[in-house]
């Protein structure tokens, strides 16, 4: 069947299993001629957690660090938009053991934060993409939705984050198709952490917090209900921090990036479990605002996403310079008030 060829299922599961799970979902097999020519589902498939070996690098058609016009332009454009190119990673760029000159100097400036409270999970981030002193994009998106009930904040290299979020989204969707339920946030964090592990020690830099809501979904009828009922009993918010150096932490409050100390200062004094949604939104906004005020690599606008059992909702993007001018006005009024002796 087409999907089997696509995903090399014969390598992973026994024949009987694949036939059972897919005879229901795919009534007809479509002839996908392009599949055989693309090499993205060969032995470097991520499910095998391939560890790079030197021999592979010599044969790789795309050598890491070699600047081709196609590569550098796609790296730049991915900084200001979600990676939407149609080419999936045909061969993942494993770094060679010698250090290779990077096409441009990278710096990892951002402010992202996420916390859990009684109303769900709130994630906020600024929108500045910087590139060693230059604001490469003032309107980038640092919170990327992965599926209806999971978003991830990104910090580190924008291109790496965008790519790995898409890869994670693909793997989660495959899991959902195979197992009839969404993978929990904890499972998604573990999956991302294991996918990033082979790249430890390379220049890859991804520091993400996964914010999601688990459980509470109706069985789609394709699989036996008893197994899933017993297994997935946890339902509720989940917040995990995953870093490409291997850290994977569960928590209720995280802030990542160069502006995170400033954000922590606001969050540590304001965040409690009992916040209302409006209060939580204003604290998150304030934290990002203060961080953008002090940190050179954070700025421009703030994005806020709120995740509940119904999925994620996005607050419209707000330009923080308005807030800065409003605050300045307030201060001036207060000063004038004092000067003239008003109470």
């Amino acid at each position: 069947m087409a999907l089997q060829d696509l995903c090399n299922f014969q390598d992973f599961f026994q024949d009987s299993l694949t036939k059972q799970s897919f005879s229901g979902t795919f009534g007809k097999s479509t002839a996908c001629n392009y599949v055989s020519s693309s090499s993205f589902r060969n032995s470097t498939s991520l499910f095998r957690f391939y560890i790079p070996v030197a021999e592979y690098l010599d044969e790789s058609p795309i050598q890491f660090g070699q600047i081709s016009t196609v590569q550098s332009s796609s790296a730049f454009s991915s900084q200001d938009s979600i990676l939407s190119s149609s080419s999936l990673p045909t061969s993942l760029p494993f770094a060679s053991s010698q250090s290779v000159p990077l096409p441009f100097p990278m710096s990892h400036g951002t402010t992202t934060l996420a916390f859990m409270f009684q109303g769900g999970v709130l994630a906020a981030a600024d929108t500045r993409s910087s590139c060693s002193g230059l604001v490469a994009c003032p309107a980038s998106q640092k919170i990327l939705p992965i599926h209806s009930h999971l978003v991830g904040t990104t910090s580190g290299t924008s291109a790496d984050c965008a790519l790995w979020k898409r890869i994670l989204a693909r793997e989660l969707r495959l899991y959902q198709l195979r197992n009839g339920r969404r993978l929990s946030t904890r499972g998604a964090a573990k999956l991302l952490s294991h996918m990033l592990h082979p790249f430890k020690g390379t220049e890859l830099c991804v520091a993400a917090t996964l914010c999601g809501w688990d459980g509470g979904e109706v069985d789609d009828g394709c699989h036996a209900g008893t197994e899933t009922d017993l297994r997935a009993s946890f339902s509720g918010p989940g917040l995990f921090y995953v870093c490409s150096d291997g850290t994977r932490l569960q928590g209720t409050l995280f802030s990542v990036g160069s502006g995170s100390p400033y954000a922590y200062s606001i969050l540590d004094q304001g965040v409690r479990w009992g916040l209302t949604v409006d209060e939580a939104t204003s604290i998150a906004r304030e934290a990002v605002y203060r961080a953008t005020h002090r940190d050179a690599y954070s700025g421009n606008c703030v994005d806020i996403y709120h995740i509940t059992s119904n999925g994620w909702t996005r607050r419209s993007r707000e330009d923080l310079k308005e807030e800065y001018y409003r605050e300045k006005e307030r201060k001036e009024k207060a000063n004038i008030g004092e000067y003239f002796g008003e109470t």
Binding site: H197, G246, T247
Partner: protein
């Protein structure tokens, strides 16, 4: 920087580890558990470089559990330690350029001669060690998970938390 300690008494072992999960200079978590339960009577305490600790410890953990599933009985602590050590040595020898896993030489432990400690004496000694740590160590390690292992298995003891310095 992190802290682990183990004390062996007459018929028990007392272990403690701090609870901080840090990322460079920021404490990301204050209640992080650094102990991995390998089996009913074996704990692995692991510190070192960020992702390597968890990956390595989980690998050892799953393998010990697999042994139990395959053979029907658990690995002894000595055997588990040998297995861990062999894996660590192989791992260290396989990568010459960088050492991914480091057994951290933590702040030095004042280990007195531990002859025959009773449980209470051991807990007191542990508290003294932690007080000394608090006095001399540059980092503020606020709370410690404490567990006791004896022939009945692994018991959680009360967390030791210190007031502000």
């Amino acid at each position: 920087m992190e802290y682990l300690i183990g004390l062996q008494g007459r018929d028990f072992v007392l272990v403690a580890a701090d609870n901080v999960a840090a990322s460079s200079i920021i404490q990301m978590k204050h209640d992080y558990d650094k102990m991995f339960k390998l089996s009913e009577k074996i704990l692995l305490l692991c510190v070192g470089e960020a992702g390597d600790t968890v990956q390595f410890a989980e690998y050892i953990q799953k393998n010990v559990q697999l042994y139990k599933m395959r053979n029907g009985y658990e690995l002894s602590p000595a055997a588990a330690a040998n297995f861990t050590r062999k894996n660590l040595a192989d791992y260290l020898r396989s990568r010459v350029s960088s050492l991914p896993v480091v057994f951290n030489s933590s702040p030095h432990v004042l280990l007195l001669v531990v002859a025959d400690l009773t449980r209470d004496e051991a807990v007191d000694l542990l508290k003294k060690c932690i007080e000394e740590l608090n006095k001399r160590f540059i980092l503020n390690l606020h709370s410690f998970t404490v567990r006791l292992i004896d022939k009945e298995g692994i018991h959680d003891l009360e967390k030791i938390t210190l007031g502000n310095k």
